[in-house]
């Protein structure tokens, strides 16, 4: 379980996140949506501990994650970043093995059980056949799966994803989201995923949080949050919401400004 309490972050004098509180339960996919510049990536980075907090707490089972050293925090929480400018010369296996860092000795030697975890993680994202390939040779979709496998190898109860689908084509978007939902349902991870695509959020998230201007405007099921009123106001665009033709989810259709 991930509990964010009153989180505030500023870049210089500019306040980027105001008093954000959010709770992601184990076994749940929480989608974080909002227009560009709303602070989605900042929230993911702040929770993962790479930028200093102005205020607030990040808890899991009572532990304050923000107060832990990076090595220990990395046992609670793994991050899937966007697959841009990865070091191309490492093999897929080497890359995923780096997810085991929080459990390795200071020489970075992997044990047999570490290797087992890596193999399992690669199987989970259907990328085991890529193991010996160099990351630089892979397509964007394959690279994104490798990063997901690396996060899985970290064996954490909490998983954060920062817009993992934005560079993927339709097929990879859907298969990535299916894997992510499986991780929550079968492995009981608490998943917080920043998403650009409202309809992916509608279809795959258990709950949705709408972030606008650094503040949480609404949290609830997709049907509760993806309403014409809330979305129009957040994105400054008239929208209509209909029922998805073959899934139990709302479908957001953008209108036009003119």
């Amino acid at each position: 379980m991930l509990k964010i309490e009153g989180l505030s972050v500023s870049y210089g004098t500019r306040r980027v996140l105001h008093d954000v509180s959010l709770e992601v339960c184990s076994g749940e996919v929480m989608a974080l949506i909002g227009p560009n510049g709303a602070g989605k990536s900042t929230l993911v980075r702040a929770v993962s501990g790479v930028i200093p907090l102005l205020g607030g707490k990040i808890r899991t089972n009572g532990d304050d994650l923000a107060a832990l050293p990076p090595m220990q925090r990395a046992r609670y929480l793994a991050v899937v970043p966007q697959a841009v400018s990865l070091p191309p010369a490492f093999t897929v296996w080497e890359t995923v093995l780096m997810g085991r860092t929080p459990y390795l000795n200071f020489l970075g030697q992997a044990s047999a059980s570490d290797e087992e975890r890596v193999q399992h993680a690669l199987e989970r994202v259907a990328a085991l056949d890529l193991a010996e390939r160099r990351v630089g040779e892979l397509s964007g979709g394959e690279q994104q799966r490798v990063l997901l496998a690396r996060a899985l190898a970290q064996s954490t109860p909490i998983l954060l994803l920062d817009e993992p689908t934005s560079n993927l084509d339709l097929h990879y978007q859907v298969s990535l989201m299916e894997i992510v939902r499986g991780l929550a349902q079968r492995d009981h991870l608490a998943v917080l995923i920043a998403l650009h695509d409202l309809n992916l959020a509608a279809r795959y998230a258990d709950r949705v949080a709408l972030l606008v201007g650094g503040e949480i405007k609404a949290v609830g099921t997709p049907r509760q949050v993806l309403t014409p009123e809330l979305i129009s106001a957040a994105y400054h665009l008239p929208v209509s919401v209909i029922s998805h033709p073959f899934a139990d989810a709302p479908l957001v259709l953008p209108g036009s400004n003119v």
Binding site: R45, S48, G49, V50, P69, P70, M71, R73, A74, R75, L77, A78, V79, P81, S85, L86, P87, P88, A89, F90, T91, E94, M98, G99, T101, P102, L104, F106, L107, G108, R150, Q154
Partner: protein, 340 residues
């Protein structure tokens, strides 16, 4: 499993060959048979009169020089690989980012304040070079930084500019120097020829610490290739790790520069070749660059002795002749394929 040790086998073989060449070849060449007899005489105590001269050359001149060049090459190869990893910059090299020149200035300043007659005085020279190196890293990094990133070519431009500045100050100090200092600075700029065992023993502890830390830092350098954010999310205390690695690399560079002079490009070429042949894993790349750097500089030094014999070229000239075109090749690769 054989695959894991093969790279070490090849580089060690190369190093062994380079050591043999370095001992055997010079103004007076020592044939392998004589070499063997001289070495064996250490055990047997029997040394024919005809080999007295060879023995003298070997113990007093050839071996100390070989040892010093070997250590210098090891330091440059290792710290080059480390700088490339820390800055995520394939063009980084102790010379090109100005650290070598900064260290040289530190060493010369220390020598001109007081010429090191004693052992502890000698030990202080690498420390002064180390301070010079660290100041240079700091200044160059600050100058090259744009926001949170350090563009590849910015680092090199700032490094070359600051390096030239430090080198100019060094030349100035040399011009107004006299006696012992002038000779010392001459080998600082050119590479050593008649150093004896003192310098070798002096830099050994500094190198052991610096290179030892770098070898242990292989996994951390691997993580840093993903950028600061991801490295920290994977569990690495990034700022502390980078600081320690920079200190270690600069210590190794400073020790190398203190008594062998400013030698460029070894730290650029060797890690690249090792990466091309044996992959990007820094846990392997660092030790291989250290061994390879030692071998490569020994070969360059042999060339420096042979090309214009009996005159000697400074070894830095040989490495620059090979290294500068190599630098341009890497620069083109970086432009064409993005960062490697």
């Amino acid at each position: 499993m054989t695959n894991r040790f093969l790279p070490y086998l090849w580089t060690l073989l190369f190093l062994a060959l380079a050591i043999l060449l370095s001992i055997a070849i010079g103004a007076v060449s020592i044939p392998p048979k004589d070499l063997w007899q001289v070495l064996a005489s250490q055990l047997t105590g029997i040394l024919p009169d005809s080999l007295q001269t060879s023995a003298f050359i070997l113990w007093k001149i050839r071996l100390p020089r070989t040892a010093l060049i070997l250590l210098t090459g090891a330091a440059l190869g290792g710290s080059g690989a480390a700088y490339q990893g820390i800055f995520r910059n394939p063009l980084a090299d102790p010379y090109l980012i100005g650290v070598a020149s900064g260290a040289g200035l530190g060493a010369v300043l220390a020598m001109s304040v007081r010429w090191p007659y004693t052992f502890w005085g000698l030990m202080a020279v690498p420390l002064a070079a180390f301070i010079g190196a660290m100041l240079t890293v700091f200044v160059v990094y600050m100058l090259a930084r744009v926001g949170k990133t350090v563009p590849t070519t910015n680092l090199i431009l700032a490094g070359v500019a600051f390096g030239s500045f430090a080198a100019a100050l060094t030349s100035f100090l040399m011009l107004r120097s006299t006696g012992e200092l002038r000779r010392a600075i001459a080998w600082l700029l050119g590479g050593s020829s008649q150093a004896g065992w003192g310098p070798t023993l002096t830099i050994l502890p500094y190198l052991a610490i610096g290179l030892g830390i770098l070898i242990l830092g292989g996994h951390a350098l691997n993580l840093l290739q993903f950028g600061d954010d991801q490295a920290q999310q994977l569990g690495l205390p990034v700022t502390r790790t980078k600081t320690i690695l920079l200190l270690a690399a600069s210590l190794a560079t400073a020790a190398a520069v203190s008594f062998s002079g400013i030698i460029g490009f070894i730290g650029l070429i060797v890690p690249h070749i090792m990466r091309l042949w044996f992959g990007a894993d820094y846990r392997r790349l660092l030790p291989l660059s250290i061994i390879g750097g030692a071998g490569m500089l020994l070969v360059a030094d042999v060339l420096a002795r042979v090309v214009l014999a009996p005159q000697e070229l400074p070894v830095g000239i040989v490495t620059a002749l090979v290294g500068a075109p190599f630098f341009l090749w890497v620069l083109r690769r970086v432009k064409n394929q993005g960062y490697w």
